[in-house]
Subunit: 394 residues, 2 copies
Amino acid sequence: MTEYYAPTYVLFGKGAQNEVGRVLKERGIKKVLIHFGGGSVVKSGLLGVVEASLEVHGIHFVELGGVQPNPRLSLIRKGISLARSENVDMVLSVGGGSALDSSKAISYGVCYDGDVWDVYGRHVAPKASLPVGCIITLAATGSEMSNSSVVTNDEVTPNEKVGCNSNLGRPAVAFMNPELTYTVSAYQTGCGSVDIMMHTLERFFHSGPAFEFTDQSCANVLKTVVKYTKVALENPCDYEARANIMWAGTVSHNGFNNVGYDSIGDWACHKMEHELSAFYDVSHGAGLAAIWGSWARYVASVDYHRFAYLGELVFGLNDDDCKVACERTIVAFEECFRSMGMPTSLKELGLSLSTDDIEALANAASRGGAIRLGNFKVLCEDDIYNIYKAANDR
Amino acid sequence: MTEYYAPTYVLFGKGAQNEVGRVLKERGIKKVLIHFGGGSVVKSGLLGVVEASLEVHGIHFVELGGVQPNPRLSLIRKGISLARSENVDMVLSVGGGSALDSSKAISYGVCYDGDVWDVYGRHVAPKASLPVGCIITLAATGSEMSNSSVVTNDEVTPNEKVGCNSNLGRPAVAFMNPELTYTVSAYQTGCGSVDIMMHTLERFFHSGPAFEFTDQSCANVLKTVVKYTKVALENPCDYEARANIMWAGTVSHNGFNNVGYDSIGDWACHKMEHELSAFYDVSHGAGLAAIWGSWARYVASVDYHRFAYLGELVFGLNDDDCKVACERTIVAFEECFRSMGMPTSLKELGLSLSTDDIEALANAASRGGAIRLGNFKVLCEDDIYNIYKAANDR
């Protein structure tokens, strides 16, 4: 049985950011914490547009900037204090997935009596949260409709990067203007597109039977991103390309591509990448691209046909020998990642790890051997080590 | 700019109906009005299952059956009285789209001081509603996540059939077990599949530019329904077929296939069909099938390429001459409707209308010439007459 619940009110298209004041007022919001990253949303003038829209509709606000990629627990604690002392009734993220995930963590923390890290590191399910809103400036994480957020605990060494999935984390409102992604760099465009593709690949490879409508919907996300990332890299201000990528990013992670599947998907690559990011602070999308091919070859024997079918759906590939078709599919995705400027090995990611390093990663990903990852193929610590090693040795 | 808002909590899969008590209790529901149609949900035992699930979780209920296809205002008034006197806090539909649309109308009426017909016939936007829940037994209207409901005023002659679109009408919860559609007759399966396809075709043909992600998503709905209706008609208990059709039906009408389009779509065929149903009480899906080809040929010159593209996406058709490709697309859809046992003319629908009859329909559809229909091509009363006439003369 699938639970599908994506209640976010979305405004999608040119000028969406101008509607923030009106939409929040209609929802009875009185005061928000605007949460953002570096200076880009200031320099671009977006922050000013949002502030003006709130002011016109009489909505008060306080602000907290400084969110970094792989958002940090220490800033989240500041946000919780500020949100409490200022008595805000919404956290409004302006920026990409990191600002939004940080906002989700603040919204849990405000409504939780204990330490907010409980919700992430100790997997205490949140019971309440402030509503979260977002103005999105990056097509990548799909956090604008998803139940997930990922936080890095920078108060421990090595850092811990852990996610929390809760329907309470689904934003109440999302303002999505594809034009706001025109200024995203080629590298971050590539990272974002890989992240979108991986949210879909993690779901496509699941335990249990296929479901054709959703298989085709997964293929639509993947084909859209493959086609339009090429266009966006050539012409960063192509509206059609940015719009297709942005909406594909939302659909890839709001649960739509789980419907009819018996499980939420594999997710081993995501968990293995979280350790790479926690240890080496790499970009999430790049880390995923560097691992995926090694994961795919390691698990392919579970169901060569599934890989072959994917290659047919997305790239029009086929071969009578399903092992050959499988390998061609994996190669096609790797070529696609490279064409987006993304790595397909740890070396290309800029890492050259020792056996000890790899053991440390595998130990962390498996929580010292206590947990297994994935469900397309269930991976123990040794399997995880082998996949990291394969990605390192390529 | 597109507004996308589909907040319904969906449980999809085998056994979904057994979860109704638990899910409603989690949402704080204390007492529901169970609203349903004829005896089929009684005979099948479904009503008993729902009652038992509510009882286990201590949720009280009262019941009102008797909903007919093209649900009637007179029964809705009874439902409003009962819901008020019994102080229920949710209307829970058990059945198909008619029971659900009737439930939506009751939920508006309970929260409205005036005559509930204001909301439909006089287009007074509802400001509040009781939450609505549904256990779906038919894949057709998509009402389980849609903002729309259609009511027939049986207190006037001829009857008036009018829809209301409001986000307040989107159900709070929907329980969707495809097995519950195994017993749907071949004729009603065909009607339902045409309705699903038409919800997508009405959107695909819209004013303004195309948006590839959504064009492809429309194609996915259409291809899924074309493929699996054939399977379901051959084997009514094929889970895969019923599940794919059911979910395609939800997606076709929850707004997903509007994202990135500048308008909500054409909808002229729906409005013309509402008059057929109001005057002659035909099944909605059959009425749509009987009109669509005549509409399509009448409006095709607006954009032959759009029709040609649709034929390529759904049926793999192509032809260098876009007019030829357009006609082939229309013929392919008509053949598809016929293969589902559906009519492609008014004669096949069982109607043989006089010029006066057709004038009366066109006059009603255009509200005496006061309104125009459609936006792919805007139709005045004469256009509407011509389309009805073409459908009658085939």
